[in-house]
Point group: C2
Chain length 197, copies 2
């Protein structure tokens, strides 16, 4: 089908997005073509804008459209707390939770012997610099409960030892979480950290 070359190319490229495969990419493209004015054209425009403007915050690694992101630029967020996350997606999740009012530091991954990811690949030197440059009183390590996440947390804790209060997120049963759906590690951690009523 020669005349659908662009449509085929669009499907192939959509299928490369995480969470989409060939079948869902085809469905998405047909849906977009049907909702051309409401969906396809606005999506194309937004993608072009984001491609032209999205950039990493020079300070924390968050994604925004300015050299220093809104969170780093806001004086209200300068409460002395810096929350260290692996990824921008984690920062977004924390912001949705609306519980944290400090600033962030996005590592861009975790230390990994297997994938040969060392501290310099992870914005860890920048974190150490921020702790001395900014008036940081507490560093909250909100890293994944994986081997690499915990290795990274320990490495950072060693680097910052004595300079700042170091904390980590509590582990336990998510609110509304049914025990049945939790992995054993989470249940074990929640049990170990149990509180008296």
């Amino acid at each position: 089908m020669n005349s659908t070359r662009d449509i085929d190319a669009l499907i192939d490229m959509m299928a490369r997005l995480p969470g989409l495969g060939p079948r869902s990419a085809r469905r998405a493209v047909l849906h977009m073509i049907r909702k051309r004015a409401l969906l396809l054209t606005p999506l194309a425009d937004l993608m072009q804008t984001v491609a032209a403007t999205a950039r990493e915050c020079a300070r924390c690694g968050n994604i925004g459209s300015t050299e220093i992101c809104d969170i780093c630029a806001s004086g209200k967020r300068a409460n002395g707390q810096v929350c260290v996350v692996e990824d921008v997606a984690d920062l977004w999740a924390m912001e949705r939770g609306q519980a944290f009012r400090g600033r962030y530091h996005v590592l861009g991954g975790t230390l990994s012997a297997l994938d040969q990811v060392g501290p310099d690949a992870l914005r860890i030197p920048q974190l150490v610099a921020r702790v001395t440059e900014e008036e940081v009183t507490e560093v909250i390590l909100a890293l994944g409960a994986t081997v690499d996440g915990q290795t990274t947390a320990h490495y950072i804790a060693d680097q910052l030892d004595g300079q700042v209060t170091l904390t980590t997120l509590a582990q336990g049963v998510p609110i509304g979480g049914e025990l049945d759906y939790l992995d054993d590690g989470t249940i074990g951690a929640a049990l170990a950290a149990r509180k008296s009523l």
Copy 2:
């Protein structure tokens, strides 16, 4: 996060695509921003091209970029067979199968009393016209094995009765399909249509 307004808007719009929700839309947008030159910019360009050029074939309802689609325009596909499908996605699936060498007629849905979809909303009059105008010898009804799909097939069969050979796809176990994963109706249909070895 004011400076991420466009990113937020992009995530919201991506989340409206079938198969994606808010979480997968966020992951997809982060992935696209990271692969800006390889993914985000080309996707934006392709979407703009498709938004500007995609159109329904005036004859069969297929989606392409010309008034008459490649399949309708190709003399090689004029073998007297017309395969009637509900949706362009079904036409694409048939083409991937590479088993059918005739032409198509895309209804754009099925008759539905509940959703008040009548024959005129479905390109059924155009199908009847094609059967007399083109040299159609066989109409293959490749409609879904749903109540509405079968109602539609019977309605079309009534309309074309005596003018053309009417056939339908065989029902049965898909090649490589494990019985365990099939719904009972498919197993029942396959059993009823069983063949001697």
